[in-house]
């Protein structure tokens, strides 16, 4: 932020004062706040509509949340490094269109191809971001325009998937009573979380988020790791597109548009700092579920449509206010 940092102790005291204040809750306590925020609306909704907690309903919620979860899992990685990817939903829509187009001819091979493509698209954005040193916010903002523009130009209409739907039907089905899409999202999240715990990757990502220059001077391949992160968002965007295509058995250039901000909100509501370095994947799971309850739960219990976005907005702010770790990001930009 500032090329002329203030005296060390100046910072230290701010930090330490913060630590004193916080220590009452304790960082541990704060970790459960997101959970509380999830339980709040959930219990409220289920109080009015008890059936909301029935296995069936929860199943529907899981299904509804899966796409957001897929998106925000990868988004978390990028945000942890202090970046952001605004192009995910655009890429997802593009993917749904492309898959719908190639599916009849190529079958599952085509799906793979598209996923590879979206991964490359993500990596490309990462490459541009690291090489040209343009903020990821801007690179992906541009991406948002380019990819959705491309999708709309390729397919100016919804493309139904009829003939070879079998190839994608798995994503729309359930196993052990849980939607496969949700299982997929969950497994992906768990694997990633494990990788973060066990492999150097995780430490490197946090290091980049907390102090990128130190990471550089420690000889980490910062560029590579960032590009990996964006490749990951690309891949998940592809998967999200695939899932939505399977659910609606058609691809559309605008299919995922409405999920961009929710998927980012999910990450931050979970308690991952938008400034990077603080947070984690487990929290994002909770965040995604919270968002889902807010999105469909309120409408489901018949809250007047106008109050839904109001409540949604309030919860976002409150959640972040409660979970944000101010001792690490002491300037709220």
């Amino acid at each position: 932020m500032t090329p002329a940092p203030p005296p060390t102790d100046g910072n230290a005291t701010i930090a330490s004062r913060d630590r004193d204040v916080r220590s009452r809750f304790g960082r541990a306590a704060r970790r459960f706040v997101p959970l509380a925020i999830l339980i709040g609306p959930l219990s409220m909704v289920s109080a009015i509509e008890p059936s909301f907690l029935s296995p069936y309903a929860l199943n529907v919620l899981a299904d509804e949340s899966s796409v957001i979860l897929i998106l925000s899992t990868a988004q978390t990685v990028v945000i942890l490094m202090g970046g952001i990817d605004l192009s995910m939903t655009a890429i997802a829509s593009l993917a749904s269109v492309l898959i719908a187009l190639v599916l009849p001819a190529t079958g599952s091979g085509g799906i793979l191809g598209v996923l590879v493509l979206t991964t490359l698209i993500g990596a490309l954005q990462g490459l541009i971001h690291t090489r040209t040193q343009i903020p990821s916010f801007i690179v992906t903002l541009a991406g948002l325009g380019v990819w959705s523009g491309l999708a709309l130009t390729i397919a100016q209409t919804t493309i139904p998937v009829t003939s070879s739907y079998a190839a994608v039907s798995w994503f729309a089905r359930s196993s052990m009573g849980i939607p496969n899409s949700f299982n997929l999202a969950l497994v992906a999240l768990i694997l990633l979380a494990l990788a973060f715990r066990l492999l150097p990757l995780g430490r490197h990502v946090y290091a980049i988020g907390l102090a990128e220059r130190v990471a550089l001077f420690s000889g980490l391949h910062v560029g590579r790791i960032k590009i990996f992160g964006f490749a990951l968002t690309g891949l998940s965007s592809g998967l999200a597109g695939l899932t939505m295509l399977a659910r609606t058995s058609s691809g559309s250039p605008t299919i995922a548009d409405s999920l961009l901000l929710p998927s980012i909100a999910a990450v931050v509501i979970g308690g991952t700092s938008i400034t990077g370095g603080v947070g984690g994947l487990g929290r994002t799971l909770i965040g995604a579920l919270t968002i889902t309850v807010l999105r469909v739960g309120f409408a489901a219990i018949g809250v007047a449509p106008a109050y839904e976005p109001i409540a949604y907005g309030m919860v976002v702010i409150v959640a972040v206010a409660l979970t944000i770790d101010r001792s690490k990001a002491h300037i709220a930009k």
Binding site: G82, I84, G149, L152, A265, P309, V320, K333
Partner: protein
């Protein structure tokens, strides 16, 4: 969240008053773009079309002025569209209309504008007192104020019957669209604020080094709140004027304005990291997008392609702005 540029050279552009007027790269780009369209699209370079472009960029100009101050401080405002919606319905219900008995005329316009300011003020206060990143707060406010707009809208968008307001929205004075005159005066106001008042200069200072500003006991918080209130005020004004133009209060009056505005600000060369750029630069960015949109309609390109082109433009603009500052040790998020 934006680029944390620790040691990279900062702000090649002198901050002192008046010195921003010199020919910058974005300005060149704008001129080139205009000339380009004039060559390939016969009838583009007419006075009439110039006024069309002026009318087209009036509302975005007003929005950009407010957003510029926020971005100069290193924050960001995602709430534009929500605030516009709220003020749009406020004005429609306050002036002569088909829903309420009210007929406050221009006073209604003032009310709507103040409503916007109110929302902005709340945003600012939330950011200061909750110490939550503006990104999240404004995201929440966007949603919440959209809800308020929905409440006001009910099941039938109110039609504006106030002839004065309609005349303001649609009419021209000496061939110049009224709204453009309003926009220009707002831009001038913004320019004055930025270069000749504490608020403006401190915004620059906060963007350049917030913790330093705090250390020196500058009224950082007050400036931030002020910036958001001001931006809210302008968003409110913009929403009201847009309604005056299309003749009804509607939730979607601001559709697409947020990304457009931020893009324009970036294209104009204002750094999302804060502390660099200014009102005039943003104005140039807005003009560029307006010329682009108008020109593409002129040569009959679909708005979808326009989306893509806009994305490419953002990227190249950012490229021009950041290229000279590249360096192995430069940190960009």
């Amino acid at each position: 969240m934006m680029p944390a540029d620790h040691q990279g050279p900062v702000g090649a552009r002198p901050a002192a008053a008046g010195q921003e007027l010199r020919l910058s790269t974005p300005l060149l780009a704008l001129i080139v773009l205009y000339l380009g369209f004039s060559l390939i699209a016969p009838g583009f370079a007419t006075v009439e079309n110039l006024w069309t472009i002026a009318d087209r960029c009036a509302i975005p100009l007003i929005l950009a002025v407010g957003t510029t101050f926020i971005i100069l401080q290193g924050s960001i405002d995602l709430s534009i569209e929500g605030v516009m919606a709220a003020s749009s319905l406020t004005v429609a219900l306050c002036v002569l209309n088909n829903r309420t008995g009210l007929d406050l005329g221009l006073f209604g316009l003032a009310l709507a504008t103040l409503a916007g300011a109110g929302l902005g003020l709340l945003t600012g206060l939330a950011i200061i007192f909750l110490r939550v990143p503006s990104f999240m707060v404004t995201l929440g406010v966007w949603s919440a104020s959209t809800g308020i707009a929905m409440l006001l809208s009910g099941d039938q968008p109110p039609l504006i019957r106030d002839s004065v307001l309609r005349a303001l929205g649609l009419g021209r004075s000496l061939a110049v669209p009224n709204l453009f005159l309003v926009a220009i005066s707002i831009v001038l106001l913004g320019y004055l604020l930025q270069n000749y008042t504490r608020f403006g200069r401190y915004s620059m200072v906060i963007g350049g080094g917030e913790d330093l500003a705090r250390l020196l006991g500058l009224p950082v918080d007050r400036c931030k709140v002020l910036a958001f209130a001001f931006a809210g005020l302008l968003s409110g004004l913009a929403g009201a004027l847009e309604s005056a133009r299309i003749g009804l209060g509607h939730i979607d009056v601001g559709a697409g304005q947020m990304f457009a505005t931020i893009s324009a600000v970036v294209i104009g060369g204002t750094s999302l990291g804060g502390g660099r750029g200014g009102v005039l630069q943003s104005a140039v960015g807005i003009l560029t997008l307006a010329v682009l949109a108008d020109g593409l309609v002129f040569i009959g390109v679909s708005p979808y392609t326009q989306k893509a082109v806009q994305g490419a433009l953002i990227l190249s603009a950012a490229l021009v702005a950041t290229w000279p500052h590249r360096g192995r040790l430069r940190i960009v998020k």
